[in-house]
Subunit: 513 residues, 2 copies
C-alpha cells in the first residue's frame, strides 16, 4: 500500500494525526491534572506542537503528495462508484485544508497559540475574581488575531463566517438567520407559556459527590461504556476528546446545589464520544483521512444533545432511572418527580445549566455578540453592557456580575469564535434526526406513538445507538451537516422538528404538573 502515491499520502496523514492527538493529550492533561502554575510552559508546548502541525499541514511535501495521489487516482479506473466519490471527496477536502493552511503566516499560528493559553489563564482569574477588565485586553488581542487570520485566509466570506468554517463547513450568516429566525420568535413565547403554568417546585436538595459519581457510572455502564477504551475525569468545564483510535476521554464536573449538572454533563459528553467512536477507526481505510473526521460541530452537538435531552431528560428514562436517584437520597417518589426535576423550564443566567426552552436564547445572544465583536465593531469594553441588555430583553434575567454573565463560557478565552451556533444547530439536527429515527423504529419493531421512549423504557438504548451508527456516524465528512440531514431525513434542515418537540414536551410537562 505504501508504494502507491495514495498509500504515501495516507502515511503522511497518519503521522499528522499522531501529532494532533499528542496536542489533544496535552489539552486533556491541562484540564484534568495539571497544576495551575504549569500553564505557561504548557502553553509553550502547545505552541510548539501547533507550529509543527501547521508546518506539516502546509508543507510542499504534503502538497506534492496530494498532487501525486490525485494523478494516480484520476488514472485509476478500477474504483467502484461509491469508492470513487469517497476518494474524490477526500482529495477535495485535503486540497481545501492545504490551501487554507498555506495562506496562514506561521508566525500568526504561534501568536494565536500563545494568546489562547494566555487568554484561558486570564479568563480563569477574571472569572474567579469577577474582574472582566482583567480579561478584556486578552479578548481584544484574540479578536485582532482572528481577524488577521480571516484576512490571511481571504475567502469569499465575512470574517465571522470564515472563522466558523472549521466548525460548520459551508455555513453562512444568511442561512443561520433563516434557521434561527423562527426560534427568536417562538422561544420567548413558549418560555412565557411555561412560566404561566403552575409547577410543583421541589424544596432545595443536593446529592453528595460520591452519589453523583455512582449515578454517572451507572449511566455510562447502562449505555455500554467499555472501560478498556474510555476514561472519565473531572474538569472545570466538561468536554469530550479523542486521543487515539481506541482512546476516548470525557470529563464532567460537580456543581454544588445543581444535583443534575454532573449527570447531564456526563450524558452530553458521552453522546459526543459515541459519535467519535462511530467514525472510521484505525482498521478502516478512511482513518486519518478527512472522511474519518466529524463533519461539523453542529452534528457533533446533535449527538450529545440527543443523549442528554432526548434520552436522559425523557419521561421514559425518568421512569426507569428514578429509583437509582432515590437510592442515593434524591427526594423522588416516582418517575414523574425525577422528570419534572430534570426539566425545570425556568430561564436562568447559565447556558450549560439551561433548560431546553431557554438554551437556544443563550446561543442567539452569543452568536449575535460574537458577530458584532468580529465584524461589526462592537468594542470589547462594551461587551458586558450588551450582554446584560440582551439577557434582560430575551430571557428577562440580569446577571449579578460578569462572572455569571459574559465571563461564564470558556470559548472566547480560547479564541474560539463561530462555535456557539453549533450548539443550537445541534438541537435542530437532533430533533430532525429523532423524527426519522422514530419513523424507522415504527417500521420495524415498535408500533407505539413514541418508539424512542418505548426503547428507553425497556432499557434498549443500544437500538438508538445502532440507528445512529448506521445512519449518521460512519459518514464522517463524506457529506456536510445540511447534506447529512437531507440524506437521512429526506428534508432540508429547519427549526420545525425542534419546535414541535419542544411544544410537545411543554404540553406534557404542564399537563402533568
Amino acid at each position: 500500500m505504501t508504494n502507491t502515491s495514495w498509500g504515501k499520502l495516507g502515511h503522511y496523514l497518519r503521522e499528522t494525526q499522531l501529532l494532533g492527538s499528542i496536542h489533544n493529550t496535552l489539552y486533556w492533561d491541562q484540564n484534568t491534572s495539571m497544576p495551575s502554575q504549569a500553564a505557561p510552559w504548557r502553553g509553550e508546548q502547545l505552541s510548539l506542537l501547533a507550529k509543527l502541525l501547521h508546518a506539516r499541514q502546509s508543507s510542499s511535501e504534503f502538497e506534492a503528495l496530494i498532487k501525486e495521489a490525485k494523478i494516480e487516482f484520476q488514472a485509476n479506473s478500477s474504483d467502484s462508484k461509491e469508492e470513487y466519490i469517497a476518494k474524490e471527496r477526500n482529495l477535495d477536502l485535503l486540497e481545501l485544508e492545504l490551501n487554507r493552511q498555506k495562506r496562514l503566516d506561521p508566525q500568526l499560528i504561534v501568536h494565536l497559540s500563545t494568546a489562547q493559553t494566555e487568554g484561558y489563564s486570564l479568563w480563569q482569574e477574571a472569572k474567579a475574581e469577577n474582574a472582566y477588565k482583567k480579561f478584556a485586553p486578552a479578548l481584544k488581542k484574540l479578536i485582532y488575531l482572528r481577524q488577521q487570520q480571516a484576512k490571511q485566509l481571504d475567502e469569499e466570506r465575512s470574517c465571522w463566517e470564515t472563522l466558523a468554517q472549521p466548525f460548520e463547513p459551508d455555513l453562512t450568516i444568511k442561512r443561520l438567520n433563516q434557521l434561527f429566525q423562527p426560534l427568536r420568535i417562538r422561544l420567548p413565547e413558549m418560555i412565557n407559556d411555561a412560566q404561566n403554568s403552575s409547577k410543583n417546585k421541589l424544596p432545595d436538595w443536593d446529592l453528595d459527590e460520591s452519589s453523583q459519581e455512582s449515578l454517572c457510572n451507572l449511566l455510562l455502564n447502562h449505555w455500554g461504556r467499555d472501560q478498556k477504551v474510555t476514561a472519565l475525569a473531572r474538569s472545570p468545564h466538561p468536554f469530550s476528546i479523542t486521543l487515539g483510535p481506541k482512546d476516548f476521554r470525557l470529563t464532567t464536573r460537580v456543581v454544588p446545589c445543581q444535583p443534575f449538572s454532573c449527570f447531564l454533563a456526563t450524558a452530553h459528553e458521552w453522546g459526543h464520544s459515541l459519535y467519535e467512536q462511530g467514525l472510521p477507526l484505525q482498521n478502516h481505510q478512511w482513518f486519518a483521512w478527512p472522511l474519518g473526521q466529524a463533519t461539523s460541530m453542529g452534528v457533533h452537538e446533535s449527538q450529545s444533545l440527543f443523549w442528554e435531552n432526548r434520552v436522559a431528560r425523557s419521561r421514559a428514562f425518568s421512569d426507569r432511572f428514578w429509583r437509582h436517584f432515590a437510592n442515593e437520597g434524591a427526594p423522588f417518589n416516582n418517575g414523574l418527580d425525577l422528570w419534572h426535576a430534570m426539566n425545570p423550564l425556568s430561564p436562568g443566567l447559565n447556558r450549560v445549566e439551561a433548560d431546553e426552552l431557554s438554551y437556544g436564547l443563550h446561543i442567539l445572544i452569543r452568536t449575535d455578540l460574537e458577530i458584532a465583536l468580529l465584524q461589526d465593531g462592537l468594542d470589547v469594553l462594551d461587551l458586558p453592557f450588551e450582554w446584560n441588555t440582551r439577557y434582560k430583553e430575551l430571557l428577562g434575567v440580569t446577571p449579578a456580575n460578569d462572572s455569571e454573565g459574559c465571563l461564564q463560557d470558556v470559548h472566547w478565552s480560547e479564541g474560539s469564535f463561530g462555535y456557539f451556533p453549533s450548539y443550537l444547530l445541534g438541537h435542530l439536527i437532533s430533533a430532525q434526526l429523532s423524527e426519522s429515527m422514530a419513523f424507522s423504529l415504527q417500521e420495524k419493531d415498535y408500533k407505539s406513538e413514541d418508539p424512542i421512549d418505548e426503547c428507553i423504557l425497556e432499557g434498549s438504548e443500544f437500538k438508538l445507538l445502532l440507528w445512529l451508527r448506521n445512519e449518521v456516524h460512519h459518514w464522517g465528512r463524506q457529506v456536510n451537516a445540511e447534506q447529512l440531514v437531507k440524506q437521512v431525513t429526506g428534508r432540508s434542515l429547519s427549526s420545525n422538528a425542534f419546535l414541535n418537540y419542544l411544544e410537545n414536551k411543554l404540553n406534557m410537562l404542564t399537563s402533568t404538573s
Copy 2:
C-alpha cells in the same frame, strides 16, 4: 541574548526540552489515566516523539550551534572563573551527548521505542497471568536492540557499562563491585542477626484507601508541598516525573494488606521531586542546559531514599506521626509501635516493599542478572531459574511464581538496563550525605548526637531540605555523582556510612523490641 551564538544554542536546547517534556506528559498520562487498549497508539505517539527528539539531538544544525557557541565562549574572556568552568562543563556534556546521538541509527531509535511499548504491554499481561513465556520474546528483543545500541555507541566500555551511562555517568563494573562487595558480605550477616532477635509482630491490619490518601496528603503538606506546582495521582508502579519548570508530578499506589506501601512510596517519590524542584529552573541560566539536569540516578535515588528511609522511617518521625496513623485506625499506642511496624526487617520477595536491610540484596541480584543477560550470554529463558536460585541463596526465600519473581519490576520491560544499581548507590550516597548533614547541623543549632532526628522531632524537616538545596540539588550536572559526594562529604563514596547507619538502626530496633 538570542543574538549571541550562546543564546541561539540556549534557544535550541529550550525547544528540545519542550519536546522532551511533551514525551514525559504522554508517559504520565499513559500510567495515570489512559485506558488499556489505547496502548498501541500511545506507542506510536511516543515513537514519533522519540524520532523527532533524536533528530534534534543529532542534527547538523545542533552540531553547528555547539561549535559556534564554543568558539564564542573561547574568545570571550569576561567570564568569572566559576562561570567559565560551568560553561565549559555544559559544552563538554553537550558534545558528549551529540556524539552519542549521532552514532545512533534513527531506525534503531524507532525500533527501540516500539519495542519498549510492546514490552511494557506484554509485561503487564504476563505479570497479571503469571506467564513469563509471554514476555520472554519481548525481553529478548529489547536486549538485542540495547546490544545493538551499545555497539553503535562504540564506547571504550562493556555493553552493560555503555547502557548504564545515561543513569550513572562514568560508572564502571569494576568500581561497582568495589562499592558493593562489603554489602554482599555484611547484609546477609545483618539479616541473620535481625532474624535471630525476637520482635513484636503486630496482628495483620490494614488501612482503607481514603485513610491512606489522607495520610499521604498530611505528609506532603507537612513537607511543604505547593499544590500550584505539583500533582499527585495513582499508577500501577509509583514514579515521579517533571513535565515543566513548574510542573512536578508524582504517583503512588495502594496495595492491599501493605498499609505503609502508599505512604512510603509517597515519601520516596516526593524525595525525587524535591531534587528536581531544586535544579536550575526556568528563570535560571542553566535551565534546559545539561547543568540544569539531575547528575545521576544514584544521586536521584539518594534524595528519595533520604526522605523515605532516613526521615519517614526514623524513630523521631514515628514519635511525631503515630497519632495520625492511630486516628485513621492503625493499631498503635505510641511512636515505638509505628516505628517497629514501618521497619519490619524481614526479608521478602518484593523489592519495592523491602526493608532497608534486604533492599540491597534485591539490587545485587538484579545487577548481576542484567549484566549476565547483556554481556555474558545468559539466556532469557533461563532468567526465572537464575532469579529464584539467587533469591534462595541471598535472601532465603523462593517466589511462588514468576509474577512475584523476575516479572515484579517494570524496568526491563521498558528496556531499562543499567538502572538498578542506582537504587543501591542511592542508599550509599544518602547515608554518606546524611553524615555530613548531621555534622553541619551540629555546627549550627543542634547539639544532640542525632541532629537530623532532632529536626524531625520538632517538625523542622524544612531545615534538612534547605541543607540539601544548598549542598546537593543546585549543582545539576556540574559534577558527577562521585565528585558530588567527595565535594560535599570530603570523602570518596564507600559503603561505610550505609553499613554504619544500618548497624545502628538494627541495634536500636532489636534493643527496643
